[in-house]
């Protein structure tokens, strides 16, 4: 057992102590934990406030997620605090297995180490500003929240590549989310609009030197989930992303080697108890530095577990 597992276990053990003894959110209505730690779908935030706490209560959740694609793998874990269905504070740590990046040494003398991992920390804050996604079943007014995700990435020996691309190692995303449960149809809809400079969610840094894009852009993200039972939901997500690096790569004679695509997934979420949820997904993360991965789309399995109180 390594220190990461220990930290996670400690977090899980503390969560019930941190939360109130009795929290009263309806099962699955707090969403699951996204890879950045905030409550939502798997790859996009929702306007719901995490944990099982509802009005006048505070609660906590912790999660771990593993996604494995053809050439990469991502482990993410973290925790969130929810208060009064109003404010959510979240932390997450990501570990991205970028071993494939050693091939970049064939392009230039970047000095990328074999088996290099990229690590990123995400601090999230979300505030519900209006609406009730679940109970206001007689109106179309959604629940609306605004949030931020402050990200710091540590690329290790890939720092030389970040420098070459002109990518920063920290930045903050801002977003607004609207979530609505169409209760009589058992259908949950979410739309998020994000202002971001992140390349691959920040794992490849933020922004790019000219002629790539160094500035923010607005990116939409969509989720739809269908409740099959009290404890079971299936759904799909689509998250648009900027393509900041491609032009920089093209100018360096690398063609479309740095192209970035949208992320999408199909998921099934199951809550065997009120405090545990498991999410299994098939994720397609599009091309991630296709120049070193034979142009393959990075699709694969995604598994996440969350405890919430």
């Amino acid at each position: 057992m390594n220190w990461k597992s220990l930290t996670l276990l400690a977090g899980l053990a503390c969560a019930p102590a941190l939360a109130q003894a009795e929290t009263g959110k309806l099962v699955l209505t707090g969403g699951v934990s996204s890879i950045t730690g905030t409550a939502g779908g798997g790859i996009t935030p929702w306007a719901v406030i995490g944990s099982n706490a509802t009005e006048g209560e505070w609660g906590a959740s912790a999660f771990t997620t593993r996604a494995v694609t053809h050439d990469y793998a991502l482990t993410s874990y973290g925790a969130a605090l929810g208060w009064n269905e109003r404010v959510e504070l979240s932390v997450a740590r990501q570990d991205f297995d970028a071993s494939a990046a050693v091939a970049l040494n064939g392009i230039a003398a970047f000095g990328v180490q074999p088996g290099q991992h990229i690590r990123m920390d995400v601090l999230g804050l979300k505030v519900r500003v209006a609406g009730d996604a679940i109970l206001d079943a007689d109106t179309w007014m959604p629940q609306i929240a605004v949030g931020l995700e402050h990200k710091r990435v540590r690329p290790g020996s890939l720092q030389s590549v970040f420098d070459f691309l002109g990518a920063d190692t920290q930045s903050t995303d801002f977003y607004v989310s609207a979530t609505k449960l169409v209760l009589d149809k058992g259908l949950l809809l979410n739309a998020t609009l994000r202002s971001t400079r992140a390349n691959q969610n920040g794992l490849l840094g933020f922004g790019s030197a000219a002629p790539g894009r160094g500035s923010r852009s607005l990116q939409p993200e969509f989720s739809v989930a269908w409740l099959l039972r009290h404890d079971l939901a299936i759904g799909a997500e689509w998250r648009f992303k900027p393509d900041n690096l491609q032009a920089t790569g093209r100018a360096a004679g690398l063609g479309a080697a740095l192209r970035e695509d949208a992320w999408r997934d199909l998921f099934i979420a199951w809550a065997p108890s009120k405090s545990l949820s498991l999410t299994l997904a098939w994720a397609d993360l599009g091309r991630i530095v296709p120049g070193i991965t034979g142009g393959r789309r990075q699709s694969g399995a995604y598994l996440s577990a969350q405890v919430a109180f």
Binding site: T23, G24, I134, D184
Partner: protein, 148 residues
């Protein structure tokens, strides 16, 4: 005989349509929900079981200590029947007045929703139909929740 059946069906359909149009104004009951709940007999069984479960509930059971179970069951059954499009009119008290003197927070309200879900499960009401009834009841949180 066939022509007679067809005419009869058309007249019925016309009557239904006219009825639907007049009833649509405030809150049209979802088609088929009353039947899906087992009509009046099924709704009576549901209300009966729901109230029994509420009284036993550790969190919200004590809220009902001054409630007369028989009258509560009858009032709930009337309300569910009327909401689901059955031949009942809800004569019970105004939801806001009834809850005004109680301390009911959102967690209590959600607990009540979960008890109702379990009662509907026990009656074999399909999940999809449960959600149609819940969609009619959930907006009452504005009148029922007194502590924010």
């Amino acid at each position: 005989m066939k022509i007679f059946s067809l005419c009869f069906a058309l007249i019925l359909a016309g009557a239904n349509l006219a009825h639907a149009q007049t009833a649509a104004a405030p809150a049209a009951a979802p088609a088929g929900l009353y039947a899906a709940l087992g009509e009046k007999a099924g709704i009576d069984r549901l209300a009966d079981d729901f109230v029994e479960r509420l009284l036993r509930h550790p969190r919200i059971g004590p809220q009902f200590k001054d409630t007369k179970p028989a009258a509560f069951k009858e009032s709930l059954a009337e309300q569910f029947c009327a909401l689901s499009g059955g031949p009942c009119s809800y004569q019970g008290a105004d939801m806001r007045e009834v809850h005004a003197d109680l301390d009911i927070n959102k967690g209590d309200f959600n607990a009540l929703v979960e008890v109702l879900q379990r009662a509907m499960d026990a009656q074999g009401i399909p999940f999809f139909q449960q959600n149609r009834l819940l969609a009619l009841l959930a907006p009452m949180h504005r009148d029922v929740i007194t502590v924010h």
